[in-house]
């Protein structure tokens, strides 16, 4: 998973992979928790010391892996600022919920980077995984206060990239998200010392 070249050093690529792995689990977890797809289409996997559920639907799997593959490239190029998982009401295209994954770029271990002639982080992988675990637990706990999705819903993933970035094939620009009467909940964040990941959930407050 992570390219741990020597003791306690994570390269930029490895960090991006950690981020994307987290995104994969977080997105799948949200899809499961929010009940967008039937629970029987999910399979349990052990990760971060937790049992997480991953969708078995080939379409969803393919979609997420396509997005994350591209996102990893962009993260390496520092072109992504944020990924948003939006949950949309199918009938009127209204955005009901938005999970923002803000990516911040950090400097890492400067001294070690100098030694290795590339940007590395000396943060312990186990510590990162513990941090991710906390975030995942929070994600699972959100179900207690998020409003019930009682309509036919689907999801989409928006990548907030630099404006200079080229639009690849099969990709297109999307309209900005707006949620009326929105409520924000900031979840815990974690960092690899190269990338910092903030997770925020925005949802429409039902009256």
């Amino acid at each position: 998973m992570s390219q741990q070249q020597t003791k306690n050093s994570i390269t930029l690529k490895g960090s991006a992979q950690i981020i994307c792995e987290y995104l994969r689990f977080a997105i799948n977890s949200v899809l499961f928790q929010r009940g967008l797809y039937p629970p029987e289409s999910f399979k349990a996997e052990q990760e971060y010391g937790l049992t997480l559920l991953i969708s078995e639907d080939p379409l969803i799997k393919g979609f997420i892996s396509d997005i994350l593959k591209k996102s990893e490239e962009w993260i390496l190029k520092k072109e992504v600022k944020k990924l948003s998982l939006v949950i949309i009401n199918v009938s009127n295209k209204e955005v009901l919920e938005c999970w923002d994954f803000n990516v911040q770029y950090e400097e890492g271990d400067v001294v070690l980077s100098k030694e290795k002639n590339e940007k590395v982080s000396s943060k312990d992988l186990k510590k990162i995984q513990l941090e991710i675990r906390d975030v995942m637990l929070q994600v699972a706990a959100t179900i207690s206060y998020l409003p019930l999705l009682d309509c036919r819903c689907s999801f989409d993933i928006y990548v907030h990239a630099n404006p200079e970035c080229n639009i690849p094939e099969k990709w297109m620009e999307a309209a900005p998200i707006s949620i009326s009467n929105a409520q924000n909940v900031q979840l815990k964040s974690f960092s690899t010392n190269l990338h910092k990941m903030d997770t925020v959930v925005t949802y429409k407050l039902m009256d």
Binding site: F63, V86, D156, N162, W171, P176
Partner: protein, 713 residues
């Protein structure tokens, strides 16, 4: 005696039936009639003697029975002689023996007589019965006779009636006979007439017949002629048919021949074509040798041409490669030139650098790079510091601005407070002035008082009058009171008002201060809130800013879902339309028939159901009746799994048993009646464990009970 004889007759007969039994007694009895007289005589004698002797015996016998009395009697004056006594004694003994014998005989006769009497009475009773029976029989016979007579009378009457009827019938029938005879005569006349007429008719008919026969013969001859004609005609027709078939065959053959002819013509045409082809081929064959030569020549030419083409292609490729190389090399050459120029430039610059470095005292390139790096690092840190400083400055400026704002606020507040204070001061001033005024007044009053006192002293000294003095004293008192009032007023004015004022002012000042504090706090809070909101706004407004561009995959699940939903919607709407159309069309013409059919079906099924119900109820009733008749029990279902059965021979309607159907069979429920059948329950249910046996036993018992009751009745 005759009656006695008559009476004795059967008895005698009875005795005579067994003569060997006692002939002696019979003979003696036969002699009884003769001996009776003697007996009677002897009896009378005896009685007389007894009568005589009673006197004697009263004399004679008593001494034996009563010797004392005899002894007393013996003492009579006539004593008998011993001989006489002896004779008397012998006579007496003989008489006694005779008496006993006679008595026995009498007793015997008495017993015989009694037996006879009993026999006679029995005989009499039987005869009386017979007589009665005969009388009854007679009466019956008379009754019968009467009945018979009545019957005879009736029969006679019937007979006379029948005779009368017979006579009447006879007269009727005679009349009828006469009429019938008349009819017969008429009919005979008619018959005769008919015979005559028929004979005439027959003769006419015969004539006709002969004529007809003649006509028939003519016709038959004609028929024969016609038959012959027909035969001839048929033979001709056959000939015609044969001819026709021949014609058909010939036409068919003709057709075949025609077709063959056509084929032949076609073949001939083909042959002509072939001939032409052959001619051309021959011509071509003649030119074949020339052609072959030419072919060889052409082949050689072709080979040479191919080689040339190959060579040309090779050359072209080489040209292409070379041109490409040239093209590739041209920029390289240019680059080379440029590089040379650059190298020259760089060398000159390097020299300059070197000189500069030497001027700075650095000899080697590494040292220079190190120096540069350090310089860069310094610069970087400087830049960082600068940026930090800038940010700090910005923060500070912000802080300053806020502080200024606060200061402004505070100053405004201060101004307010100052103005308040000024107003307070003016108030104080006014109050002080008032105080002064009051003090002056007081002074004037004091002076007045003094002068009054002086006056008083003058008047008192003068002692002008008690009344005036009293008046004055009252006045003084009054004045003193007012003075006191003024003093009080003054005192209150002096201290309380001032203290109050000061306190109120102080309170106000502190209040304002507090207010300022709270407002400051509020300002801080509001600032924090503003910052938060700003951050929030930033977060929210981040997307439309040109800093980011939102990208997503074209075929995402949301779009797919939306498309799917639209498709669903369309299909649903189409279906709705289709259904509406169908409804509109079908509503007018399809439905009524179907409705009618369905209604009919419904009606049919209802009737069926009703009939089935009726059938079911009747068969159920029948079944129940049969069960009741065969098994003697009426079984009623009183609820779910509860059955009540009552026997045919039950004495009352309350004698019933209830059973419930359980999972493992049927169980009897305790009732009043079942409690009374303890014995049967014990024997058949508990011991034999068989309900049918119990029920049949109950039936038996009830049956026997009811039949016994009937017998008793």
């Amino acid at each position: 005696m005759s009656l006695f004889h008559d009476v004795l007759e059967p008895f005698r007969r009875v005795i005579n039936t067994d003569p060997p039994k006692d002939k002696l007694s019979a003979s003696s009895k036969l002699n009884l009639s003769n001996s009776d007289v003697s007996i009677k005589e002897s009896l009378s004698n005896l009685l007389s003697t007894k009568r005589k002797s009673s006197m004697d015996t009263s004399e004679l016998l008593t001494p034996e029975k009563r010797p004392r009395t005899e002894s007393t009697s013996t003492n009579s004056p006539v004593p008998p002689s011993p001989w006489e006594a002896k004779k008397i004694k012998i006579d007496l003994i003989a008489a006694k023996a005779q008496i006993t014998k006679l008595e026995a005989r009498v007793n015997h006769q008495h017993s015989i007589r009694k037996e006879m009497q009993i026999l006679f009475e029995e005989e009499k009773a039987s005869l009386m019965d017979q007589h009665k029976r005969d009388e009854k029989a007679l009466a019956d016979m008379e009754e019968r006779l009467q009945v018979i007579r009545r019957r005879e009378q009736e029969l006679r009457e019937d007979h006379t009636a029948a005779v009368k009827e017979n006579m009447e019938n006879k007269t009727k029938w005679d009349k009828e006979r006469l009429e019938l005879q008349k009819q017969i005569a008429d009919l005979k006349d008619k018959l005769l007439e008919a015979n005559v007429s028929s004979r005439n008719q027959v003769s006419e008919m015969k004539k006709d017949m002969n004529e007809l026969l003649q006509a028939l013969e003519g016709a038959q001859s004609e028929v024969e002629l016609l038959k012959k004609e027909v035969a001839r005609q048929t033979s001709r027709a056959e000939q015609c048919i044969a001819l026709k078939t021949q014609l058909d065959k010939q036409t068919f053959e003709l057709q075949q021949v025609n077709s063959k002819l056509k084929d032949l013509e076609y073949e001939r045409d083909c042959y002509k074509d072939w001939q032409q082809h052959a001619k051309t081929a021959q011509k071509r064959l003649s030119t074949m040798a020339d052609l072959e030569k030419e072919v060889v020549r052409l082949r050689a030419a072709e080979r040479t041409l191919r080689d040339a083409v190959c060579n040309k292609l090779l050359l072209e490729e080489q040209v292409n490669v070379l041109t490409a190389k040239v093209e590739a090399l041209q920029p390289v050459q240019q680059e080379l030139h440029e590089a040379k120029v650059k190298v020259a430039l760089l060398e000159s610059s390097l020299e300059e650098w070197m000189s500069a470095a030497k001027a700075h005292g650095v000899e080697t390139a590494r040292a220079l790079s190190a120096a540069l790096e350090s310089a860069f690092a310094g610069q970087l840190t400087a830049v960082v510091n600068c940026s930090e400083a800038k940010t700090q400055m910005a923060q500070l400026t912000e802080e300053v601005a806020t502080l200024k704002f606060e200061r402004d606020k505070a100053t405004t507040k201060l101004n307010d407070i100052m103005s308040v204070r000024k107003s307070q001061e003016s108030l104080i001033h006014r109050l002080q002035k008032r105080l002064l005024l009051v003090t002056r007044e007081r002074d004037s009053y004091r002076q007045q008082l003094d002068c009054y006192e002086k006056e008083l002293t003058v008047t008192l000294c003068g002692e002008s009058g008690a009344g005036s003095a009293a008046l004055l004293s009252a006045r003084v008192e009054q004045l003193e009171k007012s003075l006191q009032g003024y003093r009080d007023l003054l005192a209150t004015h002096d201290q309380e008002a001032h203290a109050k004022l000061v306190e109120s002012l102080r309170a106000e000042a502190s209040k304002y201060r507090e207010e300022a504090e709270s407002s400051r706090r509020e300002a801080g809070k509001l600032r924090a809130q503003r910052d938060q909101l700003q951050a929030h706004l930033d977060r929210l407004v981040q997307t439309p800013q040109p800093t980011t561009k939102i990208l997503h995959l074209v075929d995402n699940p949301a779009a797919a879902a939306h498309k799917q939903m639209q498709l669903d919607m369309e299909s649903a709407q189409e279906e709705i339309k289709r259904l509406k159309a169908a409804l509109r069309e079908g509503g007018s013409d399809v439905c009524p028939e179907e409705m009618q059919q369905l209604k009919q079906q419904l009606e049919n099924s209802r009737i069926k159901l009703k009939r089935m119900k009726e059938e079911f109820t009747s068969s159920a009733q029948e079944y129940r009746d049969v069960v009741y008749m065969l098994l003697g029990y009426k079984i009623d279902r009183t609820g779910h799994k509860n059955y009540r059965i009552s026997n045919m021979y039950a004495e009352s309607a309350e004698e019933y048993l209830t059973f419930t159907l359980c999972d493992d069979g049927i169980e009897m429920v305790h009732t009043e009646y079942s409690a009374s059948l303890n014995e049967l329950v014990e024997l058949h249910l508990h011991h034999h464990r068989s309900i049918p046996l119990f029920l049949s036993a109950l039936t038996m018992e009830l049956f026997t009970r009811t039949t016994m009751q009937q017998d008793i009745q």
